[in-house]
């Protein structure tokens, strides 16, 4: 298959994932309500935390509230539900069908995840509009250029998150059951990515450790860009680190898959 044909196939898989994710109306509605409720709740909590306080660790109230809103939105996108994820397909034996496609398993799974992520865009837009309406969010720092940097950083952050998800899910080829591992991973990722609490609030030693892990590249970096916390040189370095993680994790995913290939077991006959 030519690479052009591969791209056509991957785009088709991604679009299918979008349509599958939007196929059940009640589910679309419930997940939209869920993210809106979460946004309102974090706004209430962080406003209460900052009541009568101007600054904590050099972060002012409006920034902390806005960070919490975006953190909630990012979490909603980057920690998707189990549906159609690789580990579920391994568990149900549907992996057999995936392996019969004329497209590699890693690109196929990623295309599918990109589609699922894209399907979350409408509810994220709603959540952002709601946050703007209740005055919990302001435009990104740095005007149009700042917005562009944020979009690039977000795209890289999503790529890092999807690759991490894929790597964890691929352990299913060894253990056949990764429910527990995924739950632990998601809890760690939510915390370590800075989606729950900004890394600004963390003690120096913890922040230093987290900065060497791929998690902060998922959420904390794009949000730092949004709030203009990174100046010129730091911004370029942060984006480079994100890109480096994407390359490293992609190579690792291919390596793991080349080992996993020999471990494939199709469950359920």
């Amino acid at each position: 298959m030519t690479s052009a044909a591969q791209v056509v196939a991957l785009v088709a898989i991604g679009r299918q994932a979008v349509r599958s994710a939007l196929a059940v109306r009640s589910e679309v509605l419930v997940s939209a309500v869920a993210v809106l409720v979460r946004v309102v709740l974090v706004v209430l909590v962080w406003r209460a935390v900052y009541a009568g306080v101007d600054e904590v660790s050099g972060v002012d109230g409006p920034t902390a509230v806005a960070y919490a809103v975006l953190g909630a939105v990012f979490t909603n996108v980057l920690n998707p539900f189990w549906r159609s994820s690789l580990e579920m397909r391994v568990r149900q034996g549907r992996i057999a069908v995936d392996l019969l496609r004329p497209v590699g398993l890693v690109p196929q799974t990623l295309a599918q995840q990109v589609g699922t992520t894209a399907a979350a865009v409408p509810r994220c837009v709603l959540a952002v509009l709601l946050a703007l309406a209740i005055g919990a969010l302001r435009a990104p720092a740095g005007g149009a250029l700042g917005l562009l940097a944020f979009v690039v950083s977000t795209a890289l952050g999503i790529a890092v998150a999807l690759l991490c998800n894929l790597l964890v899910a691929m352990t299913a080829f060894w253990t056949l059951e990764v429910g527990g591992a995924l739950m632990v991973y998601r809890a760690v990722a939510q915390f370590a990515s800075g989606a729950l609490i900004p890394l600004w609030f963390m003690p120096g030693w913890l922040r230093g450790t987290l900065e060497h892990l791929p998690f902060q590249a998922q959420v904390f970096t794009p949000l730092s860009v949004y709030f203009g916390a990174l100046g010129g040189g730091d911004l370029a370095a942060a984006l480079a680190v994100q890109a480096l993680w994407v390359v490293l994790l992609a190579l690792l995913a291919q390596l793991v898959w080349s080992r996993a290939l020999h471990r494939v077991v199709v469950q359920g006959g």
Binding site: S20, G104, G269
Partner: protein, 345 residues
């Protein structure tokens, strides 16, 4: 092209899993055990399939059929042995191999659950690089052959099993692969749906020259479709050859079933070369025989005693109102082989 479509040699697949403990704290002990058990699902299977053949791959549950199919399709990597499909090693050259094969697993579907059937087909067309005119032509043909028209726009989750299977067959054949694997394609279907699937498979094989490997537990599928069968059990090939020879070799007899005119219960004279088999049978309808009529079978080996001679001898000795010559059904043949585990040489 002299190269066979499939060449498998000494194919072995082993699965390893941790030992399950029993007794107190079984769950916890199973979790920490380092002990492993290895099961050999396929144990040195060798065969070749020529282009255009339609081969039945048979065996009881757990015999290793599906595992073999999964190695042939490139889903599983063999533990040892070699496999080549159309000159390629399926698991090494997976994506190229995928373009040249169609696969239907009766127990699972390749269709997208939430989308209308038509969308699944369009997606398959894109995945396999089919251009629009070829796609339209193929879809038109299969819609007609498999009568898909009325449910093309129904989401897959709303289809009956028979409809879904027709959809799966179409998805597998849309891009015209020269090789089709069918893993229990008629499981759970009603007689009409089964007949339709068989007709389709026969047509695909005859008209397009598609090579077909069929696993099934439905021996009617085999009798209608396959000239050659491969019998496998405990991961080993027990028999590889044509169906008629299998039957002849394993149960070399035929029954002449007669309904006697009188209800006398005296001993029957068995002509030379025959034995009387008296099993409870009832007379066929429409013969005028009463329900109480005595029905008996004379069993003989047609290679030793020609059928007409047996008919002549039996009708000379007894007054009969109906007669019928039957071959043992394939079901009985296969059951016999499975339970004895060997084919007579």
């Amino acid at each position: 092209m002299g190269q066979p479509m499939i060449r498998a040699e000494g194919l072995v697949k082993e699965f390893t899993r941790p030992v399950r403990r029993t007794g107190p704290l079984a769950g916890l002990r199973s979790l920490v055990t380092r002990e492993r058990v290895t099961t050999r699902a396929v144990d040195g299977v060798s065969f070749t399939v020529e282009r255009g053949e339609l081969v039945g791959y048979l065996g009881p549950n757990g015999a290793g059929k599906s595992t073999t199919i999964k190695m042939l399709t490139g889903v599983l990597v063999p533990t040892s042995g070699t496999v080549e499909v159309d000159g390629r090693v399926p698991w090494k050259d997976r994506t190229r191999n995928a373009r040249g094969i169609g696969v239907v697993f009766g127990q699972r579907t390749q269709l997208w659950h939430d989308l209308p059937l038509r969308d699944s087909f369009e997606l398959v067309a894109k995945l396999y690089g089919l251009d629009r005119p070829d796609y339209e032509r193929a879809l038109g043909r299969f819609t007609e052959l498999l009568d898909l028209g009325e449910f093309l726009d129904t989401p897959v989750r709303g289809l009956s099993l028979g409809q879904r299977m027709r959809g799966d067959l179409t998805a597998a054949m849309l891009y015209g692969p020269p090789l089709l694997y069918l893993d229990e394609p008629t499981v759970g279907l009603d007689v009409v749906a089964k007949a339709r699937i068989r007709e389709f498979v026969a047509e695909t094989n005859a008209v397009d020259g598609t090579t077909v490997v069929l696993t099934t537990h439905d021996l009617v599928d085999v009798e209608r479709l396959c000239r050659r069968v491969l019998l496998i059990d405990h991961g080993e090939v027990l028999y590889d050859g044509d169906l008629a020879a299998l039957r002849r070799r394993y149960v070399p007899y035929r029954d002449l079933v007669v309904t006697l005119a009188r209800e006398d219960d005296g001993p029957l004279v068995a002509p030379p070369g025959t034995t009387v088999v008296e099993e409870p049978r009832t007379a066929r309808a429409g013969t005028g025989a009463s329900d109480a009529a005595r029905v008996v079978a004379f069993r003989f080996d047609p290679a030793q005693t020609p059928t007409p001679a047996v008919v002549a001898a039996v009708t000379a000795e007894h007054e009969v109102v109906d007669l019928d010559v039957t071959d043992p059904d394939l079901e009985a043949v296969i059951a016999e082989i499975y339970s004895s585990g060997r084919v007579r040489a």
